[in-house]
């Protein structure tokens, strides 16, 4: 089982879009996938068509109140979701009653998901205790990146955080980057991509996810792009990305 944190402290880089569509694409290939919404905003659940979230989610598991099996929602064939839950924000905000620990998620994942091929964690755009929990729980990270300068700046911050964790935890993360919201006709996009390739050789997944209006539309219908527009370029991008991720297909620098 691969446990993968989809992480970037910068907002708007496509974490939830990647989580919903990549997970569904991998599930369509017959792999068993669980995706955990670790963002208190709960947008992943909405993107997958779960709008009523009165019940708890991963928040209650992290608090030790429920088991992970109790929180699973089967959202598609081979794809199950664990929502964020309404009290996840309390863990992030370190309120007086919240448990101040970084290993809550790691402990929560110890049992109940053994039969899964992949567990993805859709992380919040922050650098608080939830991110600490995600980095504790996984040895593998997938970083969605937009191809603009501020995303580079954000990535620098993220990699600084990851390096600190690697030092403290004495482990090295397997890191992948996915270029999302890519606009190939913009010169700066290509230049950002070149910079990324120079710093992350053999780590950028081969398929870029191009910016399209379809990808912006489908969450409001609770559908992934594979359902909303199965024949679209975006759906093809995510299907190819799924294979990239499963097989480790990466971009190479042109020589």
């Amino acid at each position: 089982m691969r446990v993968v944190a989809i992480i970037n402290q910068k907002g708007g880089v496509g974490k939830t879009t990647t989580s919903a569509n990549l997970c569904h694409a991998i599930a369509e290939l017959g792999k068993k996938v669980t995706v955990i919404d670790l963002d208190p905003q709960g947008h992943l659940a909405v993107s997958l068509g779960i709008r009523l979230q009165q019940h708890g989610g991963i928040d209650e598991v992290m608090r030790g109140e429920k088991t992970i099996q109790q929180q699973i929602i089967q959202v598609r064939d081979n794809l199950q979701l664990i929502t964020s839950g309404s009290r996840l924000q309390e863990i992030e905000q370190l309120t007086e009653n919240s448990p101040h620990r970084g290993d809550l998620l790691k402990n929560a994942l110890q049992t109940g998901l053994e039969c899964q091929d992949y567990v993805f964690i859709d992380c919040p755009p922050s650098s608080g205790l939830l991110i600490v929990n995600a980095l504790f729980a996984t040895d593998e990270i997938l970083v969605p990146m937009t191809s603009d300068f501020l995303a580079l700046q954000g990535l620098s911050h993220l990699m600084g955080t990851v390096k600190k964790f690697e030092k403290v935890l004495k482990k090295q993360y397997t890191s992948w980057l996915v270029i999302s919201r890519y606009t190939p006709n913009r010169k700066i996009s290509r230049q950002v991509l070149n910079i990324l390739l120079s710093h992350f050789p053999n780590q950028i997944l081969a398929t870029t996810i191009r910016e399209t209006t379809l990808l912006a539309e489908c969450p409001s219908f609770g559908k992934t792009i594979l359902e909303y527009s199965p024949g679209s370029q975006s759906a093809k991008d995510f299907r190819k990305l799924a294979i990239d991720f499963m097989e480790g297909r990466v971009m190479y620098v042109k020589k």
Binding site: L155, L196, H199
Partner: protein, 158 residues
């Protein structure tokens, strides 16, 4: 690439600076951690040093070599990396053999890697054993930064 091409490329560059440039140091940082461990082992057991830069090997250096190698102060180059550490090792061995007081001028150092720092630590330790004196003078900011990162300021006495 001609200068005109470079100028043209600069004009076309839409990214003012690379926020990820610091990551280029990361590969070195792993090596730095290794040298830190090595440094600790040096303190714990001087035999580690002796295996690489032994007193015997220093004393055995050919005293008849080029006199230029024997001069102190020794000015270190701007770029110090593993590519030239072997040559520097030979040079320092000869200087150490020929002099009781060795001054190493670090003012030009613009970049230094862990291999070179390891060599300088070894030089310092060996000089103590030989009852000689090695002084590192005029360290550049880059040298101080690198030595500080590794916790070597004290051992190098800069």
């Amino acid at each position: 690439m001609s200068k005109n091409d470079e100028t043209e490329n600069d004009k076309n560059n839409l990214i003012g600076y690379d926020p990820l440039a610091w990551m280029d140091q990361e590969v070195e940082d792993y090596a730095k951690e290794e040298i830190e461990v090595l440094q600790q082992s040096i303190m714990a057991d001087d035999n580690v040093l002796e295996s690489n830069y032994s007193n015997q090997s220093l004393q055995d250096a050919d005293e008849n070599d080029d006199a230029n190698y024997n001069q102190s102060p020794v000015h270190l180059d701007a770029a110090l990396s593993i590519q030239n550490v072997s040559a520097l090792h030979e040079k320092l061995k000869k200087v150490l053999t020929a002099n009781d007081y060795i001054e190493i001028n670090l003012s030009d150092v613009a970049s230094i890697d862990t291999a070179t720092l390891q060599l300088l630590v070894a030089l310092k330790k060996d000089s103590v054993k030989l009852q000689k004196t090695v002084v590192f003078n005029s360290p550049s900011p880059r040298f101080i930064e690198s030595a500080k990162l590794l916790g070597l300021l004290e051992i190098l006495d800069v």
